[in-house]
């Protein structure tokens, strides 16, 4: 796994993510009840929890896709809450959405170009595409193929690389392991590690608790919209309740 | 012991009978026969929009060819009377038959599409029907249209060529339509059609033959549309293609929409509004069409779910208000027993 070339990541050095007391309502029903999450700069923070605990809602709230009803979201000194997703993207935040959400009738190359939508520099975009191709060789020979025709693993790789195209300083990853064969889950884990190694702060939301715990420097456990437990990765995985609830031990 | 619920039912039945009585004596109350003319037209349109309600309300598909069924029903019974001298009864039966045939012919291609596509394809059918009615001048008399003699039959002794007589005929058909549609929605097939509206895939997964249900709903709307057309033909005794152009498809859409789709009350309110509103706006003469368009837009913005939803809220509120008092009495009655 050759490390991505140096120039992509200087942007990711300094920032930190602070979410304080965020709550969210679907109509009259409150789904998130005042959760607070901090993501260390350059660290992998992961958020685990059962299905419907509010993980994806949190990710969408950060990205501005859903208006939050309380609390603030701050990234790199600027408040994101209340911003339109296109502005959030301009602040260097990239979301690799649940279910990948590719553009099925556009080629791999065009999907990648869309990833760099917020960037104006033509030359650098070409360089980023070349480095992504080095990173994911399988995408090279698929470059003119319609995204809809790729396999599950390839689609996940395309989704991640599309998010990388905007040179994000904060990478939000929503269940990257969804629907992938175990060996591919391993591969995706390696990719996340190396992205983080380059200094990008990663907020990982995963149902696959094992993978999340292995990767994460810091873990938050979310149940029915509330943070029930938080701590360093090793500490949380040692906790019996977590093992019973999430690891089936 | 009359519990709260039964009392509500009795109250409703009483209102039901009162309404029926009022409608039976309506010709006596409404002296100016112009307004009786409007009420007859509204009842005819009630039957037409109830048909539209079946396909639109219960399968969620916006059909724009109800006005074409209206035209087919009118032309079928009209031409049969003019050329073969068929009577009113035979004319309506022929219209029903024609409704089934045309409903299936139009239904097959259009029901294969969904949502907006379905509406546009049905609108294309209305255009097609209008062009055929206008172009086939040998049979249909072309753009100017044709006339038939007033009906000679009479109903329970009242001659049908008078306005009162024809009013009762149309009233009977309207009541039959309500009973039929209510019976159908309550029945097993009715529930299957509603299941198709809620979730087609789910409905087919539990064994509902989705296409057959949609086609059945479409045929029912076609038959009701053709009956309304036949009734209109023998009431006005003259028909021209212009009355069934795409422009009037707008009126059926408005009536279905304003009244609120998928309810039994919707067609009643929608058809009365579509007939009475242009007459009220008649004073605007030159600007009448424009006013009608603007009202349409206002309704879309103000009442996205149609008139019925606020009305049903009002109705349930009124019922609750009346019967809460009774419940209190019963509670006290039961407690001191």
């Amino acid at each position: 796994m050759t490390p991505l070339s140096r120039h992509i990541w200087e942007g990711a050095k300094k920032s930190v993510l602070k979410i304080t007391g965020m709550s969210f309502k679907y109509g009259k029903v409150e789904v998130l009840h005042g959760i607070s999450i901090n993501a260390e700069k350059g660290k992998i923070t992961s958020l685990i929890g059962a299905n419907g605990a509010g993980k994806t809602t949190t990710m969408k709230a950060i990205m501005g896709l859903m208006p939050i009803s309380g609390g603030t979201i701050e990234w790199d000194g600027t408040t994101l809450s209340g911003k339109d997703p296109s502005d959030v993207a301009k602040c260097g935040v990239a979301l690799c959405p649940e279910g990948r959400q590719l553009f099925p009738n556009m080629s791999v190359y065009e999907n990648l170009l869309m990833g760099a939508y917020t960037r104006k520099d033509k030359e650098e975009i070409k360089e980023t595409i070349e480095s992504v191709y080095q990173w994911f060789p399988r995408l090279v020979d698929r470059r003119n193929q319609m995204a809809g025709t790729l396999s599950g693993g390839e689609q996940e790789m395309l989704a991640i690389s599309r998010a990388l195209m905007s040179k994000p300083s904060l990478m939000l990853m929503d269940e990257p392991s969804w629907g992938l064969a175990p060996i591919l889950v391993e591969e995706v884990g390696e990719i996340i590690k190396s992205i983080n190694a380059q200094g990008t702060t990663v907020l990982l939301v995963e149902q696959n608790a094992q993978m999340a715990l292995d990767l994460a420097d810091y873990v938050y456990v979310l149940e029915t919209g509330k943070i029930v437990l938080e701590g360093a990765g090793a500490e949380v995985s040692a906790n019996e309740e977590i093992q019973q609830a999430y690891l089936g031990v | 012991m009359i519990t709260g619920n039964n009392a509500k039912k009795h109250f409703v039945n009483v209102i039901l009978i009162v309404i029926l009585v009022v409608f039976i004596f309506l010709p006596k109350i409404v002296t100016v026969s112009y307004y009786l003319h409007l009420i007859v037209m509204s009842l005819i349109w009630f039957i037409l929009i109830s048909g539209l309600n079946v396909i639109q309300g219960y399968t969620g598909y916006v059909s724009m060819c109800q006005i074409a069924f209206y035209g087919i029903g009118a032309y079928t019974s009209g031409l049969l009377m003019k050329n073969l001298h068929w009577g009113l009864g035979q004319g309506i039966l022929a219209a029903v038959g024609m409704g089934l045939i045309v409903g299936t012919i139009i239904g097959f291609p259009s029901l294969r599409t969904k949502g907006h596509y379905f509406s546009i394809v049905t609108l294309a059918f209305t255009m097609l029907m209008f062009t055929i009615l206008r172009g086939w001048s040998g049979l249909t008399g072309g753009i100017v249209g044709f006339a038939v003699r007033p009906v000679s039959e009479s109903l329970f002794g009242i001659p049908l060529n008078t306005r009162q007589g024809y009013y009762y005929l149309v009233l009977i058909f309207a009541v039959l339509t309500i009973l039929f549609v209510k019976r159908m929605t309550g029945s097993r097939t009715g529930r299957a059609i509603i299941a198709v509206r809620e979730n087609e895939n789910l409905a087919s997964s539990i064994g509902v033959n989705v296409f057959a249900m949609k086609l059945l709903a479409f045929d029912i709307s076609a038959v009701l549309g053709c009956i309304a057309g036949a009734l209109y033909m023998h009431y006005v005794n003259f028909v021209s293609p212009a009355g069934f152009a795409a422009e009037y498809a707008m009126n059926t859409l408005l009536a279905g929409m304003v009244g609120g789709v998928g309810t039994l009350v919707g067609p009643a309110i929608g058809s009365f509004i579509v007939i009475f509103l242009p007459e009220m706006l008649r004073a605007a003469a030159l600007y009448r069409q424009l006013a009608f368009g603007i009202v349409l837009i206002i309704i879309v913005f103000a009442l996205p779910h149609g008139v019925v939803r606020p009305l049903t809220k009002l109705w349930t509120w009124a019922l609750a208000k009346i019967f809460r008092k009774n419940n209190v009495e019963e509670a006290t009655l039961a407690s001191n027993k």
């Binding site: - | 509500k8 009022v22 100017v144 249209g145 021209s240 212009a242 039994l264 009643a268 109705w315």
Partner: protein, 443 residues
């Protein structure tokens, strides 16, 4: 009935709500408006005055607006002129005319609603206007069943079927029906060089299709070879297909039969296809209407042969010029075909009232039947033909007027009189046509 009664209740409750609502308006609506005609002493005790209310039913919007709007404007112009001169004199009372106008959108159900409202709510006994055929025929069905309540005076609704439904004698028409003998016009066409003529007509209109067939019958008599009959629709906009067919069939002249604007577009299409053959239009329309579609050059070598009474110089006593001036002054729009017809209807009504010397509708109707051409005010635009006994109407209440043939003059950029040619088929042929149709319709 228990299970569903809740929903039935809702249905009938709302229907009741609306029914009660409308019956209330009906009750108050009925008495409110003025009755057909009511006399009354003037406030200052001078000459007694009164008002007569007539209904006007025309297609102000919709497909027929092309003739409906001018027809309404012609009516208003005449009524204003009559009222300006003190209205209608009956005995020592002078009645001013009031109009109650409704738009029937040249549509059957609208015509039924508007006529019913005029009769039941506004209680008028005379309804004039009727600029389009469809609405007129629909209303005629009602006139047949309510002969005592209404008399229809039709202007430009020229469908020959109208008089077939005039079984009760309560429908009058000043505009010449389209059943007429085009022999005069066909001879004139021969003179201007039509040898192989292609016909393009609105065949699905009963009026125009009858005329087109009569033209083609007369072609043989006059030695003109007919090279094809093409069809088009009302409001059609693209005629390339038909024109191409006729030109390729070797036509050296073309006859168009239809509405003003469609005929003008056909002329333009012919000129655009590079042919300058003579074009005869069985159509009317003012110079400006034709120039709205064609250029002056394209109109060269074009003719029109419709009964266009307000053609300058149609009669030599200057009535057409006076009418055209008055119309342009009032509506700053040049007169077309339907307006002068409706204009004459008002003068015919005035003559009937003054002949009957009463405001009773049935007496006025009887007087109108017996009207003589000489009774009419000289300002009548149409040069009505005096039938036997100088009568205006024939036994089916149809009036007759000769036809003019006009040629386009490039200098004056409008139609100029070329010849007074055809006369209509006359009462005998009209009777034969009506009786034959009545039998077919089982009247």
């Amino acid at each position: 009935m228990k299970k569903g009664s809740m929903r039935i209740g809702k249905v009938l409750l709302s229907v009741l709500l609306i029914a009660v609502l409308t019956s209330m308006t009906a009750a108050c609506g009925g008495s409110g408006s003025g009755s057909g005609s009511d006399g009354g002493a003037d406030a200052d005790g001078g000459a007694k005055t009164g008002t007569i209310v007539w209904g006007v039913d025309d297609s102000l919007t919709g497909t027929g607006a092309g003739s409906g709007l001018p027809s309404y404007q012609g009516t208003v112009l005449a009524v204003e002129q009559v009222n300006a001169e003190g209205g209608i004199q009956i005995g020592d009372t002078s009645y001013t005319i009031q109009l109650k106008e409704y738009d029937n959108k040249s549509d059957a159900s609208e015509a039924v609603s508007t006529l019913t409202k005029l009769l039941d709510v506004d209680k008028v006994h005379f309804v004039i206007g009727w600029g389009s055929s469809t609405a007129t025929l629909a209303a005629a069905q009602i006139a047949m069943t309510r002969q005592d309540d209404v008399t229809m005076v039709v202007g430009n609704g020229r469908t020959p079927m109208l008089m077939v439904y005039n079984t009760q004698g309560n429908i009058f028409r000043s505009g010449t029906g389209n059943v007429y003998d085009p022999i005069g016009i066909v001879q004139y066409m021969k003179e201007v060089g039509c040898n192989k003529t292609g016909v393009i007509a609105m065949m699905n209109d009963t009026a125009y299709s009858v005329s087109a067939k009569q033209y083609m019958e007369k072609f043989e008599e006059c030695g003109i070879e007919s090279v094809g009959l093409e069809n088009f629709e009302a409001n059609d906009t693209d005629f390339n297909t038909q024109v191409t067919k006729l030109l390729h069939a070797g036509a050296d002249s073309i006859l168009t039969v239809g509405n003003i604007i469609e005929s003008a577009t056909i002329v333009r299409t012919i000129r655009e296809q590079g042919s300058d053959i003579p074009i005869v239009n069985f159509s009317a329309g003012t110079g400006s209407q034709w120039l709205g579609v064609c250029t002056n050059e394209q109109m060269n070598n074009c003719y029109t042969t419709r009964p266009w009474a307000s053609a300058i110089g149609a009669t030599d006593d200057g009535t057409q010029e006076a009418y055209t001036e008055a119309y342009i002054a009032r509506w700053n729009d040049s007169p077309a075909q339907a307006d002068c017809q409706a204009y004459d209807d008002v003068w015919i009504m005035k003559a009937a009232y003054e002949k009957a010397q009463s405001t009773d509708p049935l007496e006025v109707r009887a007087a109108m039947k017996e009207l003589k051409v000489s009774d009419l005010d000289p300002r009548c635009v149409d040069a009505f033909e005096a039938l036997d006994g100088d009568k205006l109407f024939d036994e089916f209440n149809q009036a007759y007027a000769p036809y003019q043939c006009m040629r386009w003059s490039m200098e004056e950029k409008t139609w100029t009189l070329a010849a007074v040619v055809g006369r209509n088929l006359g009462p005998a042929a009209h009777r034969e046509y009506v009786l034959e149709q009545r039998e077919k319709e089982g009247l």
